[in-house]
């Protein structure tokens, strides 16, 4: 077993020793910092409310919003919902928390698509590059089964995505803390849900929001890994994986009328539909159904990688 850990160590070392990996992290860092500075400079963020005057402040805000709405009719929708939210605070007698690090992390949820992108790039290269460099020959003539080498590579991809995710969470929190301060250990805010306004824990929102997106990340990274192993071409793997990640929803939309549409991978990747009360893509789909479809795709991707990697001859280029 220790043997397997050194294999994973090798693969991780090969990822992080390359400059391109660090450039990806640098870009990610710049984006997070940029978002923070942008929000800090242009965002209309409150610094928190005083314990004895927060009711008056909210009332004032509502008046301002109403005035604004009269002058600029196109703001109506947005301002109305802000007013309703403020009213929810007032009615339920909850003092709103100010904007802080946790909320910044929550709003950076969309950065997970960049984490997916980086994971796809790594997954697409991890097998194909060994073939491109020619190092696959020296890698496979060790007293280690091909299954184990493939498993270590897949494990390294998953670890990479975990490290990158942690990097995003941690850096977002630190940037958020520096720019906006920290509003308690577990702040709660009011959010507009399908069923109306709800008073929710920000950390809970972070976990569910990021968690649901991890499904897409895992599926697309495994897909890229499979293409990389079968076709030994990283550009093809990156291209197809990113293409499907971007147009996946349109594909489902396009085939919506067909009876088999619910079996399309992308019809099932957004599991949050089943929890926040939205209607699923196609009638009759349930959480259990989607998880089953996802599992079948997942096993299929891994099986294909496994068969092609272990059975095929390593011949010349």
């Amino acid at each position: 077993m220790s043997n397997f850990f050194s294999l994973i160590y090798n693969e991780i070392a090969k990822i992080y020793i390359q400059k391109s990996t660090w450039i990806m992290y640098l870009l990610l860092g710049v984006i997070i910092l940029g978002l923070g500075i942008l929000a800090n400079t242009y965002g209309d963020l409150n610094d928190g409310y005083e314990a004895d005057t927060w009711r008056e402040t909210l009332q004032e805000e509502n008046e301002e919003l109403t005035n604004e709405m009269e002058e600029e009719p196109f703001l109506q929708d947005f301002n109305l919902s802000s007013i309703e939210m403020n009213n929810y605070y007032l009615e339920n007698d909850i003092q709103p928390a100010g904007y802080g690090a946790w909320q910044f992390v929550m709003e950076n949820e969309m950065l997970l698509s960049i984490v997916s992108l980086l994971t796809i790039i790594v997954a697409a290269g991890i097998v194909a590059n060994e073939f491109r460099w020619g190092t696959i020959k020296l890698l496979l003539i060790r007293p280690i089964s091909r299954e184990k080498i493939l498993a270590s590579k897949y494990g390294a991809v998953l670890l990479f995505s975990l490290f990158t995710l942690l990097f995003v969470l941690l850096l977002s929190w630190v940037v958020g803390a520096l720019l906006f301060g920290v509003e308690g250990i577990n702040p709660h805010i009011v959010m507009e849900k399908n069923t109306g306004f709800e008073y929710v824990s920000v950390i809970n929102e972070i976990i569910t929001g990021y968690g649901f997106q991890l499904v897409t990340l895992l599926m697309m990274a495994t897909f890229a890994f499979m293409i990389s192993t079968v076709f030994r071409n990283s550009a093809l793997a990156i291209g197809t994986a990113i293409f499907f990640m971007m147009v996946g929803n349109q594909i489902v939309f396009f085939f919506m009328e067909r009876s088999w549409a619910k079996y399309i991978l992308f019809a099932n990747t957004d599991l949050s539909l089943y929890f926040n009360g939205n209607t699923p893509w196609i009638e009759g789909m349930t959480l259990g159904f989607s998880i089953t479809v996802l599992l079948i795709y997942y096993v299929l991707f891994l099986m294909l990688s496994w068969i092609f990697f272990t059975k095929r001859d390593v011949a010349g280029h």
Binding site: S2, N3, S6, L7, Y9, N10, A13, K14, I17, Q18, K19, W133, G134, T135, K137, L138, L139, L140, I141, R142, P143, I144, S145, D313, V314, A315, G316
Partner: protein, 306 residues
């Protein structure tokens, strides 16, 4: 006789309908340097790929110290160190990082052993440089270091002197011989250059179109192979031809103003003595080609790929 290190038993490889290796059988003994020679496309690299398990055998088997590469792959390949085609390493890692990487894949390789192989191939200075900046010769050395890390019983080197300078070739040649003699390692070397293989190997197997056409012991030459092609520049030429015929029974031919004939090396001084005695001026004497090379040319024929 010495122990068998590696055995090929009727190894065949088909790709599609085409049979590219048509039943190879031979053994390599411990402490022996075996040369695999043949023109480009003869199947040398394919054979080597099958020996190390990179390609599956269509038929037959390869055993290493009695362990089958088909049914006991991990145990069999544990005894093998190899370079297959070019010694390709991770260009973004240093020499020592590359070696550490491969060392981690085999539990019993110590840090000390890594230093040992580095100094063996003379890469002490370059070990901390990125492999991307290495010359072909340096990569070849690193390739050999990588193959030796785990003290294998069988060392397989595909064109090992490719890209090395003459001094480097000599060094590697001496090192390979020492491995065979002192450590009892079986070494398999492939090349398309006979002159190179002749100098290192004990035995040579000739491959052509996926078939083994001959196995030749290098030191045991037959009588015909002892004959050398001799070229001689002398004046007057006719007189010299007569003298060689009468005193030594040699029929010489005249082409390009030189005498050409075949003779054993040992008889040449006596001929020169005769010629000098009869006042013939000798300007030049040259032994052109060994007959072994001629023989291989006949075996291999034209450099055709079917």
């Amino acid at each position: 006789m010495s122990e068998t290190a590696m055995e090929l038993i009727d190894v065949k490889k088909r790709i599609g309908k085409k049979e590219i290796i048509k039943g190879l059988s031979f053994t390599i003994n411990k402490g022996e340097v075996f040369g695999l020679i043949g023109p480009n496309g003869a199947g040398k690299t394919t054979t080597i790929r099958m020996m190390v398990g990179l390609m599956q055998l269509s038929e037959g088997d390869v055993t290493i110290l009695g362990k089958s590469i088909k049914s006991d792959y991990i145990e069999a390949v544990r005894e093998v160190g190899a370079i297959v085609e070019n010694p390709e390493m991770y260009p973004f890692m240093t020499g020592i990082q590359n070696l550490n990487h491969y060392a981690r894949m085999i539990p019993e390789v110590s840090k000390q052993r890594i230093q040992e192989v580095i100094s063996l191939v003379g890469l002490e200075k370059a070990a901390k440089e990125k492999v991307g900046r290495y010359s072909l010769g340096m990569r070849q050395r690193l390739g050999i270091a990588q193959a030796l890390l785990h003290n294998p019983s069988v060392l397989i080197l595909d064109e090992p002197t490719n890209g090395l300078d003459p001094a480097g070739i000599r060094e590697i040649r001496m090192y390979i011989r020492r491995l065979a003699v002192e450590k009892n390692v079986a070494v398999i070397i492939s090349s398309h250059l006979l002159s190179e293989i002749e100098l290192i190997c004990d035995r040579i197997g000739v491959i052509k179109n996926g078939e083994l056409v001959a196995i030749q012991q290098v030191n045991e030459k037959t009588d015909i192979e002892k004959l050398k092609q001799v070229q001689m520049e002398v004046t007057p030429m006719n007189e010299a031809m007569e003298l060689l015929q009468t005193h030594h029974g040699i029929t010489a031919m005249e082409t390009d103003g030189k005498l050409h004939f075949q003779s054993e090396k040992e008889k040449i001084p006596a001929m020169i003595r005769t010629l000098v005695e009869y006042n013939i001026s000798i300007y030049q004497l040259e032994i052109a080609k060994s007959s072994l090379e001629d023989k291989f040319f006949n075996l291999i024929g034209e450099n055709t790929i079917e």
